[in-house]
Amino acid sequence: MLNLDYFLQKTKRFSYLSRIDIVNTIYKAKGGHVGGSLSVIDILSSVYALKEKYDFEFVLSKGHCLLAWLVTLIRIGELDKSILESFYLDNSSFGGHPKKGSSSSITWSTGSLGHGLSITLGKAFASPNKNFICVLGDGETNEGSVWEALMFMSQHKLTNVLVIIDNNKQESLTFTDDILSIENLNDRLKGFGLKALRIDGHDHEQILDNLLSYFTDRDVDNVPKVIIADTIKGKGISFMEKVPKWHHRKLTPEEHTLAIEELTNCKV
């Protein structure tokens, strides 16, 4: 029997530490994709909290949120925290987007949007017994190739892939609804023959529940699943939440102090 409480505590702890690491690193690096990293971090924490129990290959299709992935890999001991000291600096091992082979979990170079899902599907087709998790952004669904991939996933019933859309409802300049809205995303996915599950992407319990049912019952109805995780861009820092300019930005010393203060107040 899985001790859900243990994983829940672990996940919450991961998120708490990772948010602080993200903000400190972006402050030090003088810039970075802070908003999206903070929206996706609870998803990453939950996914990797289960790594000790379940095996999977992970593809971060929204590659610009690499920092959130790196701090998560630090949580599970795959990377040493010292890598954050040099993040994005000259001659660093880690730049703005995932580089294949830079860590054992990073098996694909992403950064251009609309590639990761197709890649994951190719891998999943070739390795039907392996689990795959692919995280996309909602803005990424602007890319037509994402819809090509979703059709392929449905057609070939690739239930060994779990897609999670970090639906933070913002893109680079403004809100997704004001660019190319996908707010009836559940229906769109259903129309594609996929099962859409809508959850709160910051509720660790909901995320864990859905991940566990993927790991334990992925083939139960032979329909591939897409989790639409409703999230908030900049989650955890009041002045960043839902404010478009925090897509990619550096922090002033005052903003940094304030951000860390807010995050530390939420200690778990």
Partner: protein
């Protein structure tokens, strides 16, 4: 060329269960035999080439040997960024097989013509580009591609269409460099690649062109080009005139590739270029007529051949 590709592919697939064919809803009947033998190893990916290319790259990374087949503009131009990122940057041994090189799809119009594919593929580091001259050469090129894929080296094979004749080889310098006329370099040399090679040989059939030599090169990467360059350097004193005939736009093809190597090596050799004009073609006409109207005319080749 299509049938030769399908036959060689089927033979290779018999010995390697990892081989898998992805097609973009193209290839009516030519893969019947393959599908009959390996129904689970043929995927019609639909008219969704971007996804098809990335799926193939993902498969290659998981140990399969994907062969991706469709019409060139959709395989190469439509999916260029997928090729760049998922095959180039991520170093995957995918074999891209495009059909309709140059003006093979003559009457289907400019959307289906392939003028720019070689230029684009030359920009991808490590991409091997094969432009077989005839059905027999398709088999030779495909076997090389397949072997390269095992070492994670991607390749692109530019096929014409169907019905191309096999061309008589006078002498093979290597598997990708062949003499199609004369067995040695003469003062007036033509270099060609792809299925246009047969037009060059035909144009120079008459005895009055007996002092002309024709070499084909069916692989355009640096190694082959250097081999060809060395051949030219060895015969530099003898050479009075060199011409390249290729079914591409003037930009980014063999002519630019070879000229830049010669320049870098300080070899004082100018090369004439017989290729398609740098413009889209809107006439509805057969390939031979379009070729002759837009730059690749037999009489031009013959005129150059007569120059002493």
């Amino acid at each position: 060329m299509r049938n030769s590709f399908a036959t060689t592919l089927t033979e290779i697939a018999r010995n390697d269960p990892k081989v898998i064919l992805l097609a973009g809803d193209i290839g009516f009947r030519i893969f019947d035999k393959f599908i009959e033998e390996f129904p689970d190893r043929f995927i019609n990916c639909g008219i969704a080439e971007q996804n098809m290319v990335s799926v193939a790259a993902g498969m290659a990374s998981a140990g399969r040997r994907p062969i991706v087949y469709t019409i060139i503009p959709f395989l190469i131009m439509r999916s260029f960024e997928q090729i760049r990122v998922d095959i180039g940057i991520n170093q995957q041994g995918v074999v891209l097989v495009g059909v309709g090189g140059g003006l093979a799809y003559d009457k289907l119009g400019s959307t289906h013509h392939a003028y720019e594919d070689i230029a684009l593929m030359r920009t991808i580091p490590s991409m091997k580009i094969f432009t077989p001259i005839d059905p027999e050469d398709v088999s030779n090129c495909f076997i090389q591609s397949y072997n390269l894929a095992k070492s994670d080296i991607p390749s692109y094979i530019r096929l014409s269409k169907g019905g191309e004749p096999n061309i008589t080889r006078i002498k093979e310098v290597s598997s990708n460099i062949k003499f199609l006329k004369s067995s040695n370099i003469t003062s007036n040399l033509f270099i060609t690649h792809g299925s246009i090679s047969s037009l060059v040989v035909d144009a120079l059939e008459d005895n009055k062109y007996s002092n002309v030599s024709v070499i084909s090169i069916s692989e355009l990467s640096k190694d082959s080009l250097l081999k060809l360059t060395n051949l030219l350097i060895e015969n530099l004193q003898l050479l009075k005139q060199v011409s390249i005939v290729e079914e591409t736009f003037p930009t980014g093809g063999l002519h630019e590739a070879l000229s830049s190597i010669l320049m870098k090596e300080n070899v004082p050799l100018g090369i004439k270029h017989i290729c398609l004009d740098h413009r889209y073609i809107f006439d509805i006409n057969n390939r031979v007529s379009l070729l002759s109207k837009y730059g690749i005319e037999k009489s031009i080749i013959q005129e150059i051949a007569l120059k002493k």
